[in-house]
Amino acid sequence: MSRIGVIGEDATDVETLVVLLRRIVPGSVGVKTKAPPSGRGGCAKLVRSAPTYMKELWASGCTLAILLHDLDLDSANNELKDEKKLRAHLSALPVPAGLELVICIPVEEIEAWFWSDQAVLDRVGIRAKASSSPHLIKKPKEQLRDLSLRTHHKVKYATTQNPKLAEDLNLELCAQRCPAFASLREQVLRRFGT
């Protein structure tokens, strides 16, 4: 069986992407995941560990590795970081021969994808409209949480729900509205799609 490796900075993000991958290429690929242990340095640790993770994934039979890295805001000016620079930095990581690396950079973070689909927002239970340009939403995760608090007077949304929300996400709609997801889906289908 073909295998895809998923590397992310956070176990919840990785689980969410796994749900989406299994929906994109149902049944035909196995998935192995890597994320630094929590408390071990987040993004910086991910970049340091990624070459090792890729070696291990390749040794485990993976032919494709997806490196999931949020674009995030620059804390100095509250603006998005430079995506081209980040992509160039990640592309320079050593990749084992025989393993193809796909870099996926959700803008600003993976929760932005949920903002593309009204059904998912309804499932979270917040009074908000889906966006045709989720990559323009600042702090999409915090917005989900804050709106959830305002609607229900208590926090009903937590990132631990993300894998469940990914089961309901309209993949076609998300691909139309989220360039990072569209690119990821296209590359995975090119490689493993029927």
Binding site: A11, K32, K34, G39, R40, T52, Y53
Partner: protein, 390 residues
């Protein structure tokens, strides 16, 4: 970070438990845990069965050596090394159907045990339904609940030479549970009383009110202060090395109200033990077990609880160095504890969807993948907790 093969190079304990097999329905049936000569580290997700396994090991050792401590598990095998000779000691505790339904009625249980030389297959002794057979000798009648390890060596017949060291090995198994010793919401001073001619719980002359774990610590240290000053001083010395305390003092006074005869209070750096921080209380509890020469196997649940990472490193170093002849089994979620271990020390505890717990060392494929991490300068915990075992 230790090399993959370092655990194999550790000096083996002279008498030790090599493996224990327990039958526990809560773990899904039969489970065998192999122990390293010095240190074994259990890792696994919450709910996998790590705590239950340690509790079973402790309960089994207690049941084998102390009367009246029946409880789970009812079927156990210990594979041990005594003086370099491999022995298999197993027991089964079953209810005598013709007896009463009262589980506290000792006579309602049959104790069956067997000890064989694992190298030769020679039976050393066997006890079944009240009959003991030692070697090839004639059977001897016994009280059905008794096994040889429950009896003193001065009984009516000659015990095999293996009985005393085996009893000492299993009697020396101690468990320090997860969590902190204090259970009460508020901190309160701990004070003990001694009643003239009185005997408190577990034979101690001291009694007190409060959390059992806190009382156990204070009673032990007060007793050692009185009758085993060398062990008391060793606790102070280790506490200083760990940088958690400078002095432990015991204040003994005549009790104003008979029949209590005396009152005792334990102070660490001038503070009553009951008022100390949870972490300090836990460390002192651990140090007592470290210093106690009767402890042969220390089972330690989550030593990282309430302990600063720097202090945890010193505690682990002390566990390693203090008594090379002692086995330590640790269950943990801590990256620091795992990083301090060798790959060969690790036992992965997993629970299947069907509710069956399994425990195993890293397999050959995992060891090979681990090498990738070590070669790149990452740590054992980076491998174990990054999803490598999923």
């Amino acid at each position: 970070m230790q090399d993959l093969d370092e655990s194999a190079a550790q000096e083996p304990a002279s008498d030790r438990i090599v493996a224990v097999t327990v039958e526990d329905p809560a773990l899904g049936g039969l489970l065998r845990l192999t122990l390293e000569a010095r240190r074994t580290v259990l890792v696994g997700k919450n709910g996998a069965g790590k705590s239950r396994l340690l509790e079973d090991l402790h309960a089994a050792a207690l049941a084998a050596t102390r009367l009246g401590t029946r409880g789970r598990p009812e079927r156990v095998k210990f594979e041990v090394q005594l003086g370099g000779v491999p022995l298999d000691y197993s027991y089964v505790c079953t209810r005598a159907p013709e007896r009463t339904e009262d589980p506290d009625d000792r006579m309602s249980w049959y104790w069956n045990e067997r000890c064989i030389d694992a190298a030769t297959g020679r039976r050393l002794w066997q006890v079944g339904e009240g009959i003991a057979t030692i070697g090839d000798d004639q059977p001897v009648a016994m009280i059905p609940i008794h096994g040889l390890l429950h009896l003193r060596s001065s009984s009516a017949f000659t015990f095999p030479s293996e009985v005393d060291p085996l009893r000492a090995l299993l009697r020396g198994v101690r468990l320090i549970r997860a969590g902190v010793p204090r259970q009460a919401t508020a901190r309160e001073p701990v004070r003990l009383q001694r009643v003239r001619d009185g005997v408190g719980q577990a034979g101690s002359p001291w009694t007190g009110r409060g959390d059992d774990r806190l009382l156990d610590v204070v009673k032990t240290l007060v007793s050692w202060f009185e009758v085993r000053r060398d062990q008391f001083d060793a606790v102070v010395e280790v506490g200083r090395r760990l940088q958690v305390l400078q002095e432990i003092d015991v204040k003994l006074e005549a009790h104003p109200h008979p029949p209590a005869e005396q009152e005792a209070e334990l102070f660490v750096d001038g503070v009553n033990f009951g008022l100390l921080s949870d972490g300090t209380q836990r460390i002192v509890e651990l140090v007592i077990k470290l210093v106690d020469p009767a402890v042969t196997v220390l089972l330690l649940e989550e030593p990282e609880t309430s302990v600063h990472p720097g202090l945890l490193g010193r505690v682990l170093a002390e566990l390693d160095a203090f008594d090379p002849g002692r086995q330590v089994v640790i269950s943990t979620h801590s990256l620091g504890v795992v990083d301090a271990a060798a790959a060969g020390d690790i036992r992965v505890v997993e629970r299947s969807a069907a509710g069956v717990t399994s425990v195993r060392p890293l397999n050959a494929d995992e060891q090979q993948r681990l090498r990738i991490y070590l070669d790149d300068g990452l740590e054992l915990a980076d491998f174990l907790f990054s999803g490598a075992l999923d």
